[in-house]
Protein backbone atom coordinates (compact mmCIF):
# COMPACT_ATOMS: atom_id res chain seq x y z
CA UNK A 1 0.00 0.00 0.00
CA UNK A 2 3.02 2.27 0.10
CA UNK A 3 3.90 4.50 -2.80
CA UNK A 4 6.42 2.32 -4.53
CA UNK A 5 8.09 2.41 -7.91
CA UNK A 6 6.33 -0.79 -8.90
CA UNK A 7 3.08 1.16 -9.05
CA UNK A 8 4.56 3.99 -11.10
CA UNK A 9 6.40 1.60 -13.44
CA UNK A 10 3.24 -0.46 -13.96
CA UNK A 11 1.18 2.65 -14.67
CA UNK A 12 3.72 3.96 -17.18
CA UNK A 13 3.96 0.55 -18.85
CA UNK A 14 0.18 0.27 -19.15
CA UNK A 15 -0.19 3.79 -20.54
CA UNK A 16 2.75 3.28 -22.94
CA UNK A 17 1.53 -0.06 -24.33
CA UNK A 18 -2.04 1.25 -24.61
CA UNK A 19 -0.95 4.39 -26.46
CA UNK A 20 1.27 2.40 -28.84
CA UNK A 21 -1.58 0.00 -29.69
CA UNK A 22 -4.01 2.87 -30.16
CA UNK A 23 -1.70 4.85 -32.46
CA UNK A 24 -0.84 1.80 -34.58
CA UNK A 25 -4.40 0.52 -34.82
CA UNK A 26 -6.10 3.90 -34.64
CA UNK A 27 -4.23 5.54 -37.54
CA UNK A 28 -5.81 3.39 -40.31
CA UNK A 29 -9.22 3.59 -38.61
CA UNK A 30 -9.07 7.38 -38.28
CA UNK A 31 -7.82 7.71 -41.86
CA UNK A 32 -10.69 5.54 -43.13
CA UNK A 33 -13.17 7.61 -41.10
CA UNK A 34 -11.78 10.83 -42.57
CA UNK A 35 -12.07 9.70 -46.21
CA UNK A 36 -14.98 7.25 -46.39
CA UNK A 37 -18.50 7.98 -47.62
CA UNK A 38 -19.73 4.66 -46.24
CA UNK A 39 -23.06 4.61 -44.46
CA UNK A 40 -21.35 2.67 -41.66
CA UNK A 41 -19.32 5.75 -40.73
CA UNK A 42 -21.77 7.30 -38.21
CA UNK A 43 -22.13 3.89 -36.55
CA UNK A 44 -18.37 3.47 -36.18
CA UNK A 45 -18.01 7.06 -34.97
CA UNK A 46 -20.72 6.49 -32.36
CA UNK A 47 -19.08 3.29 -31.11
CA UNK A 48 -15.68 5.00 -30.92
CA UNK A 49 -17.18 7.86 -28.89
CA UNK A 50 -19.07 5.54 -26.54
CA UNK A 51 -16.39 5.44 -23.81
CA UNK A 52 -16.72 9.25 -23.53
CA UNK A 53 -20.26 8.99 -22.21
CA UNK A 54 -20.36 5.50 -20.72
CA UNK A 55 -19.63 5.28 -16.98
CA UNK A 56 -16.29 3.44 -16.67
CA UNK A 57 -17.84 0.99 -14.23
CA UNK A 58 -20.33 -0.09 -16.93
CA UNK A 59 -17.51 -0.73 -19.38
CA UNK A 60 -15.54 -2.51 -16.63
CA UNK A 61 -18.50 -4.66 -15.63
CA UNK A 62 -19.22 -5.86 -19.18
CA UNK A 63 -15.53 -6.49 -19.81
CA UNK A 64 -15.31 -8.50 -16.58
CA UNK A 65 -18.23 -10.67 -17.69
CA UNK A 66 -17.06 -11.06 -21.30
CA UNK A 67 -13.38 -11.69 -20.54
CA UNK A 68 -13.79 -13.97 -17.50
CA UNK A 69 -12.95 -17.67 -17.96
CA UNK A 70 -16.68 -18.44 -18.17
CA UNK A 71 -17.45 -15.42 -20.38
CA UNK A 72 -17.99 -15.54 -24.15
CA UNK A 73 -14.62 -14.05 -25.15
CA UNK A 74 -12.61 -15.33 -22.16
CA UNK A 75 -13.72 -18.95 -22.62
CA UNK A 76 -12.92 -18.89 -26.35
CA UNK A 77 -9.54 -17.25 -25.73
CA UNK A 78 -8.54 -19.74 -23.04
CA UNK A 79 -9.65 -22.68 -25.23
CA UNK A 80 -7.04 -21.43 -27.73
CA UNK A 81 -4.47 -21.61 -24.96
CA UNK A 82 -4.35 -17.88 -24.23
CA UNK A 83 -3.44 -16.61 -20.77
CA UNK A 84 -6.10 -15.48 -18.29
CA UNK A 85 -7.40 -12.06 -19.41
CA UNK A 86 -9.11 -10.80 -16.29
CA UNK A 87 -7.05 -9.69 -13.27
CA UNK A 88 -3.92 -9.59 -15.41
CA UNK A 89 -1.90 -7.06 -17.37
CA UNK A 90 -3.33 -8.12 -20.78
CA UNK A 91 -6.83 -7.53 -19.41
CA UNK A 92 -5.84 -4.05 -18.25
CA UNK A 93 -4.48 -3.30 -21.72
CA UNK A 94 -7.74 -4.39 -23.39
CA UNK A 95 -9.80 -2.27 -21.00
CA UNK A 96 -7.52 0.75 -21.39
CA UNK A 97 -7.47 0.53 -25.20
CA UNK A 98 -11.28 0.64 -25.27
CA UNK A 99 -11.49 3.30 -22.60
CA UNK A 100 -8.96 5.67 -24.23
CA UNK A 101 -10.06 4.94 -27.81
CA UNK A 102 -11.90 8.24 -28.48
CA UNK A 103 -9.03 10.28 -27.02
CA UNK A 104 -6.71 8.96 -29.72
CA UNK A 105 -9.10 8.49 -32.65
CA UNK A 106 -10.75 11.91 -32.51
CA UNK A 107 -7.59 14.10 -32.69
CA UNK A 108 -6.26 11.87 -35.51
CA UNK A 109 -9.59 12.01 -37.33
CA UNK A 110 -9.67 15.81 -37.11
CA UNK A 111 -6.06 16.11 -38.27
CA UNK A 112 -6.63 13.81 -41.26
CA UNK A 113 -9.81 15.62 -42.26
CA UNK A 114 -7.85 18.87 -42.46
CA UNK A 115 -5.45 17.42 -45.06
CA UNK A 116 -6.64 18.84 -48.41
CA UNK A 117 -7.44 16.31 -51.15
CA UNK A 118 -5.72 18.58 -53.69
CA UNK A 119 -2.33 17.98 -52.05
CA UNK A 120 -2.84 14.23 -52.20
CA UNK A 121 -3.92 14.46 -55.83
CA UNK A 122 -0.81 16.49 -56.64
CA UNK A 123 1.38 13.89 -54.96
CA UNK A 124 -0.41 11.14 -56.87
CA UNK A 125 0.22 13.03 -60.12
CA UNK A 126 3.91 12.96 -59.21
CA UNK A 127 3.58 9.15 -59.05
CA UNK A 128 3.80 8.86 -55.29
CA UNK A 129 2.23 5.57 -54.14
CA UNK A 130 -0.43 5.53 -51.40
CA UNK A 131 2.06 4.72 -48.61
CA UNK A 132 4.52 7.32 -49.86
CA UNK A 133 1.73 9.93 -50.01
CA UNK A 134 0.76 9.08 -46.46
CA UNK A 135 4.35 9.28 -45.22
CA UNK A 136 5.44 12.43 -46.99
CA UNK A 137 2.19 14.44 -47.13
CA UNK A 138 -0.24 13.31 -44.45
CA UNK A 139 2.14 12.53 -41.58
CA UNK A 140 3.93 15.92 -41.54
CA UNK A 141 0.64 17.81 -41.80
CA UNK A 142 -1.01 15.72 -39.12
CA UNK A 143 1.89 15.95 -36.68
CA UNK A 144 0.04 18.11 -34.13
CA UNK A 145 -2.85 15.63 -34.28
CA UNK A 146 -0.52 12.73 -33.53
CA UNK A 147 1.03 14.63 -30.65
CA UNK A 148 -2.36 15.43 -29.16
CA UNK A 149 -3.56 11.84 -29.66
CA UNK A 150 -0.49 10.36 -27.99
CA UNK A 151 -0.46 12.66 -24.98
CA UNK A 152 -4.21 12.47 -24.40
CA UNK A 153 -4.21 8.69 -24.82
CA UNK A 154 -1.31 8.32 -22.39
CA UNK A 155 -2.65 10.79 -19.80
CA UNK A 156 -6.19 9.46 -19.96
CA UNK A 157 -4.94 5.91 -19.37
CA UNK A 158 -2.93 7.09 -16.37
CA UNK A 159 -6.08 8.68 -14.98
CA UNK A 160 -8.50 5.81 -15.52
CA UNK A 161 -9.98 4.15 -12.48
CA UNK A 162 -13.33 2.40 -12.83
CA UNK A 163 -12.35 0.04 -15.62
CA UNK A 164 -9.01 -1.03 -14.15
CA UNK A 165 -10.49 -1.53 -10.70
CA UNK A 166 -13.23 -3.76 -12.09
CA UNK A 167 -11.23 -5.99 -14.44
CA UNK A 168 -7.86 -5.60 -12.71
CA UNK A 169 -8.84 -6.53 -9.18
CA UNK A 170 -6.44 -4.17 -7.40
CA UNK A 171 -3.62 -6.73 -7.12
CA UNK A 172 -0.30 -5.26 -5.92
CA UNK A 173 2.48 -5.56 -8.48
CA UNK A 174 0.20 -6.93 -11.20
CA UNK A 175 -2.80 -4.68 -11.72
CA UNK A 176 -2.46 -1.99 -9.05
CA UNK A 177 -1.89 1.27 -10.93
CA UNK A 178 -1.54 4.80 -9.54
CA UNK A 179 -5.19 5.77 -9.40
CA UNK A 180 -5.96 2.54 -7.55
CA UNK A 181 -3.10 2.99 -5.11
CA UNK A 182 -4.67 6.38 -4.36
CA UNK A 183 -8.05 4.74 -3.74
CA UNK A 184 -6.34 2.26 -1.40
CA UNK A 185 -4.78 5.08 0.60
CA UNK A 186 -8.12 6.83 0.99
CA UNK A 187 -9.87 3.60 2.03
CA UNK A 188 -7.14 2.84 4.57
CA UNK A 189 -7.43 6.41 5.95
CA UNK A 190 -3.82 7.15 4.93
CA UNK A 191 -4.65 10.68 3.82
CA UNK A 192 -1.02 11.87 3.85
CA UNK A 193 -0.06 9.36 1.17
CA UNK A 194 -3.28 10.04 -0.68
CA UNK A 195 -2.34 13.73 -0.87
CA UNK A 196 1.10 12.90 -2.24
CA UNK A 197 -0.36 10.73 -5.01
CA UNK A 198 -3.27 13.02 -5.81
CA UNK A 199 -1.01 16.07 -5.94
CA UNK A 200 1.46 14.19 -8.12
CA UNK A 201 -1.26 13.14 -10.56
CA UNK A 202 -2.63 16.68 -10.70
CA UNK A 203 0.81 18.13 -11.46
CA UNK A 204 1.46 15.43 -14.07
CA UNK A 205 -1.87 16.01 -15.84
CA UNK A 206 -1.42 19.77 -15.88
CA UNK A 207 2.13 19.44 -17.20
CA UNK A 208 1.03 17.09 -19.98
CA UNK A 209 -1.78 19.40 -21.09
CA UNK A 210 0.51 22.42 -20.97
CA UNK A 211 3.00 20.65 -23.23
CA UNK A 212 0.25 19.67 -25.69
CA UNK A 213 -1.24 23.13 -25.92
CA UNK A 214 2.07 24.98 -26.19
CA UNK A 215 3.39 22.63 -28.86
CA UNK A 216 0.13 22.83 -30.78
CA UNK A 217 0.34 26.60 -30.76
CA UNK A 218 3.83 26.40 -32.23
CA UNK A 219 2.61 24.08 -34.98
CA UNK A 220 -0.24 26.41 -35.78
CA UNK A 221 2.04 29.22 -36.94
CA UNK A 222 2.26 29.21 -40.74
CA UNK A 223 5.22 27.15 -41.89
CA UNK A 224 4.95 27.40 -45.68
Amino acid sequence: MTLDWRVIALTAELAGVTTAILIIGGTPLAWWLSRTHSRARPVIEAVVALPLVLPPTVLGFYLLILLSPSGAIGAFWESLGGPRLVFSFPGLVIGSVLYSLPFVIQPLHNAFRAVPDTLLDAAAALRAGPLDRFRSVVLPLARPGFLTAMTLGFAHTVGEFGVVLMIGGNIPGRTQVLSIALYNNVEALEYGRAHTLAGGLLAFSLAVLLVVYSLNRRFETPRL
Binding site: L64, F87, N170
Partner: protein
Protein backbone atom coordinates in the same frame (compact mmCIF):
# COMPACT_ATOMS: atom_id res chain seq x y z
CA UNK B 1 7.76 -21.05 14.58
CA UNK B 2 5.53 -24.09 14.13
CA UNK B 3 3.51 -21.95 11.76
CA UNK B 4 6.58 -21.12 9.70
CA UNK B 5 7.55 -24.80 9.50
CA UNK B 6 4.09 -25.86 8.45
CA UNK B 7 4.19 -23.31 5.69
CA UNK B 8 7.68 -24.21 4.53
CA UNK B 9 6.33 -27.49 3.12
CA UNK B 10 4.60 -25.91 0.13
CA UNK B 11 3.26 -22.69 -1.36
CA UNK B 12 6.68 -21.31 -2.18
CA UNK B 13 7.86 -19.37 -5.18
CA UNK B 14 10.88 -20.19 -7.33
CA UNK B 15 13.28 -18.60 -4.86
CA UNK B 16 11.90 -20.77 -2.03
CA UNK B 17 10.09 -17.89 -0.35
CA UNK B 18 6.45 -18.38 0.49
CA UNK B 19 4.03 -16.87 -2.04
CA UNK B 20 2.03 -13.96 -0.70
CA UNK B 21 -1.50 -14.60 0.53
CA UNK B 22 -3.88 -12.49 -1.57
CA UNK B 23 -6.59 -11.00 0.58
CA UNK B 24 -9.64 -9.28 -0.89
CA UNK B 25 -10.75 -6.88 1.81
CA UNK B 26 -13.77 -4.61 2.21
CA UNK B 27 -12.83 -0.93 2.40
CA UNK B 28 -13.84 -0.46 6.03
CA UNK B 29 -11.33 -3.09 7.19
CA UNK B 30 -8.39 -1.91 5.06
CA UNK B 31 -6.58 -0.08 7.88
CA UNK B 32 -6.88 -2.89 10.46
CA UNK B 33 -5.78 -5.41 7.83
CA UNK B 34 -2.56 -3.57 7.04
CA UNK B 35 -1.65 -3.70 10.74
CA UNK B 36 -2.74 -7.34 11.13
CA UNK B 37 -0.81 -8.26 7.97
CA UNK B 38 2.35 -6.64 9.32
CA UNK B 39 2.18 -8.72 12.51
CA UNK B 40 1.28 -11.92 10.66
CA UNK B 41 4.20 -11.49 8.25
CA UNK B 42 6.57 -10.78 11.13
CA UNK B 43 5.56 -14.03 12.81
CA UNK B 44 5.27 -16.34 9.82
CA UNK B 45 7.43 -14.79 7.11
CA UNK B 46 4.48 -14.99 4.72
CA UNK B 47 3.66 -11.71 3.00
CA UNK B 48 0.06 -10.53 2.61
CA UNK B 49 -1.15 -8.68 -0.49
CA UNK B 50 -4.33 -6.72 0.08
CA UNK B 51 -6.79 -5.88 -2.69
CA UNK B 52 -9.23 -3.31 -1.39
CA UNK B 53 -12.72 -2.91 -2.82
CA UNK B 54 -16.41 -2.75 -2.04
CA UNK B 55 -17.84 -6.07 -0.86
CA UNK B 56 -20.25 -6.34 -3.81
CA UNK B 57 -17.54 -5.52 -6.33
CA UNK B 58 -15.11 -8.04 -4.80
CA UNK B 59 -17.89 -10.64 -4.89
CA UNK B 60 -18.43 -10.03 -8.62
CA UNK B 61 -14.69 -10.37 -9.19
CA UNK B 62 -14.42 -13.63 -7.21
CA UNK B 63 -17.23 -15.32 -9.19
CA UNK B 64 -15.45 -14.19 -12.36
CA UNK B 65 -12.19 -15.87 -11.43
CA UNK B 66 -10.22 -13.31 -9.41
CA UNK B 67 -7.07 -14.88 -7.91
CA UNK B 68 -7.84 -14.15 -4.25
CA UNK B 69 -7.07 -16.61 -1.43
CA UNK B 70 -9.04 -15.02 1.39
CA UNK B 71 -12.12 -12.78 1.38
CA UNK B 72 -12.75 -10.37 4.26
CA UNK B 73 -16.25 -9.08 3.56
CA UNK B 74 -18.14 -6.22 5.16
CA UNK B 75 -21.21 -8.42 5.65
CA UNK B 76 -22.25 -12.04 6.11
CA UNK B 77 -24.41 -12.17 2.98
CA UNK B 78 -21.81 -12.33 0.22
CA UNK B 79 -19.62 -14.97 1.96
CA UNK B 80 -22.75 -17.13 2.42
CA UNK B 81 -23.58 -16.79 -1.30
CA UNK B 82 -20.02 -17.74 -2.23
CA UNK B 83 -20.18 -20.80 0.04
CA UNK B 84 -23.54 -21.86 -1.44
CA UNK B 85 -22.15 -21.65 -4.96
CA UNK B 86 -18.98 -23.54 -4.16
CA UNK B 87 -16.47 -20.70 -4.35
CA UNK B 88 -15.13 -21.24 -0.82
CA UNK B 89 -13.33 -24.08 0.92
CA UNK B 90 -15.95 -25.99 2.92
CA UNK B 91 -16.67 -24.79 6.46
CA UNK B 92 -14.19 -21.94 6.21
CA UNK B 93 -16.70 -19.14 6.76
CA UNK B 94 -16.15 -17.33 10.07
CA UNK B 95 -17.11 -13.97 11.58
CA UNK B 96 -13.99 -11.92 12.31
CA UNK B 97 -15.44 -8.56 13.39
CA UNK B 98 -18.73 -6.93 14.23
CA UNK B 99 -19.05 -3.33 13.11
CA UNK B 100 -20.44 -0.57 15.30
CA UNK B 101 -22.21 2.52 14.06
CA UNK B 102 -21.63 6.04 15.41
CA UNK B 103 -23.27 9.42 14.98
CA UNK B 104 -20.35 11.63 13.95
CA UNK B 105 -20.67 15.42 14.28
CA UNK B 106 -17.20 17.00 13.94
CA UNK B 107 -16.19 20.33 15.38
CA UNK B 108 -18.60 20.37 18.29
CA UNK B 109 -17.51 20.78 21.90
CA UNK B 110 -20.03 18.25 23.16
CA UNK B 111 -22.82 16.07 21.85
CA UNK B 112 -26.20 15.30 23.40
CA UNK B 113 -27.60 11.78 23.11
CA UNK B 114 -27.94 10.28 19.62
CA UNK B 115 -31.69 10.57 19.84
CA UNK B 116 -31.63 14.24 20.94
CA UNK B 117 -29.06 15.21 18.31
CA UNK B 118 -31.07 13.63 15.51
CA UNK B 119 -34.37 15.07 16.73
CA UNK B 120 -32.94 18.52 17.45
CA UNK B 121 -33.56 19.74 13.90
CA UNK B 122 -30.10 21.32 13.69
CA UNK B 123 -28.85 18.94 11.01
CA UNK B 124 -28.95 20.34 7.48
CA UNK B 125 -27.17 17.44 5.79
CA UNK B 126 -26.94 13.96 7.31
CA UNK B 127 -24.61 11.58 5.49
CA UNK B 128 -25.11 7.85 5.40
CA UNK B 129 -23.87 5.11 3.09
CA UNK B 130 -26.16 3.89 0.32
CA UNK B 131 -28.44 1.36 2.09
CA UNK B 132 -28.74 -0.76 -1.06
CA UNK B 133 -25.04 -1.38 -1.52
CA UNK B 134 -23.31 -0.73 1.81
CA UNK B 135 -24.04 -2.74 4.98
CA UNK B 136 -23.34 0.31 7.16
CA UNK B 137 -25.90 2.25 5.12
CA UNK B 138 -28.55 -0.43 5.64
CA UNK B 139 -27.83 -0.38 9.39
CA UNK B 140 -28.05 3.43 9.44
CA UNK B 141 -31.44 3.30 7.75
CA UNK B 142 -32.64 0.72 10.31
CA UNK B 143 -31.56 3.01 13.15
CA UNK B 144 -33.47 5.96 11.71
CA UNK B 145 -36.53 3.78 11.10
CA UNK B 146 -36.38 2.30 14.60
CA UNK B 147 -36.24 5.82 16.06
CA UNK B 148 -39.17 6.86 13.85
CA UNK B 149 -37.01 9.50 12.12
CA UNK B 150 -36.64 8.07 8.62
CA UNK B 151 -39.51 10.07 7.13
CA UNK B 152 -38.68 13.37 8.79
CA UNK B 153 -34.92 13.20 8.06
CA UNK B 154 -35.23 11.85 4.53
CA UNK B 155 -35.04 15.33 3.01
CA UNK B 156 -31.62 16.04 4.57
CA UNK B 157 -30.05 12.63 3.96
CA UNK B 158 -27.14 12.51 1.49
CA UNK B 159 -25.72 9.16 0.44
CA UNK B 160 -22.14 8.06 0.04
CA UNK B 161 -21.33 5.08 -2.15
CA UNK B 162 -19.47 3.41 0.68
CA UNK B 163 -18.97 4.10 4.36
CA UNK B 164 -15.53 5.58 3.55
CA UNK B 165 -17.04 8.09 1.13
CA UNK B 166 -19.70 8.87 3.72
CA UNK B 167 -16.99 9.56 6.27
CA UNK B 168 -15.25 11.90 3.80
CA UNK B 169 -18.50 13.83 3.29
CA UNK B 170 -18.61 14.56 7.01
CA UNK B 171 -14.87 15.00 7.65
CA UNK B 172 -14.65 17.53 4.80
CA UNK B 173 -17.58 19.52 6.16
CA UNK B 174 -19.80 18.82 3.13
CA UNK B 175 -22.29 17.22 5.53
CA UNK B 176 -22.59 18.40 9.12
CA UNK B 177 -23.33 14.96 10.56
CA UNK B 178 -23.07 11.35 9.51
CA UNK B 179 -23.84 7.80 10.53
CA UNK B 180 -20.49 6.11 10.01
CA UNK B 181 -18.32 3.33 11.46
CA UNK B 182 -16.73 3.46 14.91
CA UNK B 183 -13.57 2.12 13.25
CA UNK B 184 -13.26 5.43 11.36
CA UNK B 185 -13.08 7.42 14.60
CA UNK B 186 -9.40 6.55 15.22
CA UNK B 187 -7.61 9.77 16.13
CA UNK B 188 -10.85 11.72 16.59
CA UNK B 189 -11.83 13.54 19.75
CA UNK B 190 -14.27 11.28 21.60
CA UNK B 191 -16.59 14.27 22.10
CA UNK B 192 -17.25 14.42 18.36
CA UNK B 193 -19.15 11.13 18.12
CA UNK B 194 -21.64 8.95 19.95
CA UNK B 195 -21.73 5.17 19.64
CA UNK B 196 -25.18 3.97 18.59
CA UNK B 197 -26.76 1.12 20.51
CA UNK B 198 -26.47 -2.13 18.56
CA UNK B 199 -30.03 -3.02 19.52
CA UNK B 200 -31.24 -0.48 16.95
CA UNK B 201 -29.97 -2.37 13.91
CA UNK B 202 -29.17 -5.88 12.72
CA UNK B 203 -25.62 -6.82 13.75
CA UNK B 204 -22.94 -5.74 11.26
CA UNK B 205 -21.32 -9.17 11.21
CA UNK B 206 -18.31 -9.19 8.93
CA UNK B 207 -17.36 -12.65 7.73
CA UNK B 208 -14.15 -14.06 6.33
CA UNK B 209 -13.92 -17.03 4.01
CA UNK B 210 -11.12 -19.15 2.60
CA UNK B 211 -11.65 -19.13 -1.15
CA UNK B 212 -11.22 -22.22 -3.35
CA UNK B 213 -8.12 -20.63 -4.81
CA UNK B 214 -6.55 -20.31 -1.35
CA UNK B 215 -7.43 -23.77 -0.02
CA UNK B 216 -4.16 -25.06 -1.51
CA UNK B 217 -2.15 -22.32 0.18
CA UNK B 218 -1.23 -23.19 3.78
CA UNK B 219 -0.45 -19.54 4.44
CA UNK B 220 -4.05 -18.58 3.68
CA UNK B 221 -5.40 -21.02 6.24
CA UNK B 222 -2.75 -19.90 8.72
CA UNK B 223 -3.81 -16.30 8.24
CA UNK B 224 -7.44 -17.16 8.99
CA UNK B 225 -6.34 -19.00 12.14
CA UNK B 226 -4.27 -15.96 13.13
CA UNK B 227 -7.30 -13.71 12.50
CA UNK B 228 -9.37 -15.66 15.03
CA UNK B 229 -6.58 -15.73 17.63
CA UNK B 230 -6.41 -13.73 20.85
CA UNK B 231 -3.76 -11.24 19.65
CA UNK B 232 -5.67 -10.42 16.45
CA UNK B 233 -8.99 -10.12 18.30
CA UNK B 234 -7.49 -7.60 20.72
CA UNK B 235 -6.17 -5.58 17.82
CA UNK B 236 -9.49 -5.71 15.96
CA UNK B 237 -11.24 -4.48 19.10
CA UNK B 238 -8.71 -1.67 19.32
CA UNK B 239 -9.74 -0.56 15.84
CA UNK B 240 -13.32 -0.01 16.94
CA UNK B 241 -15.01 -3.36 16.24
CA UNK B 242 -16.72 -5.80 18.53
CA UNK B 243 -15.25 -9.25 18.24
CA UNK B 244 -17.57 -12.22 17.72
Amino acid sequence: MALALAVAACGTDAGGRPRAVRVAVAGNFAAPLSELARQFTERSGIPIEASIGATGQLYAQIVNGAPFDVFLAADDVRPALLERDGWTASDSRVAYAVGRLVLFVPGRASLASVDAELRGGGIRALALANPHTAPYGAAAQQVLERLGLWDSLRAVVIRGESVSQTFQFVASGAADAGLVALSQMTGRDSREYRVISDTLHRPLRQEAALLRQGSEHPGARAFLTFLGGEQARRMIAGFGYDTP
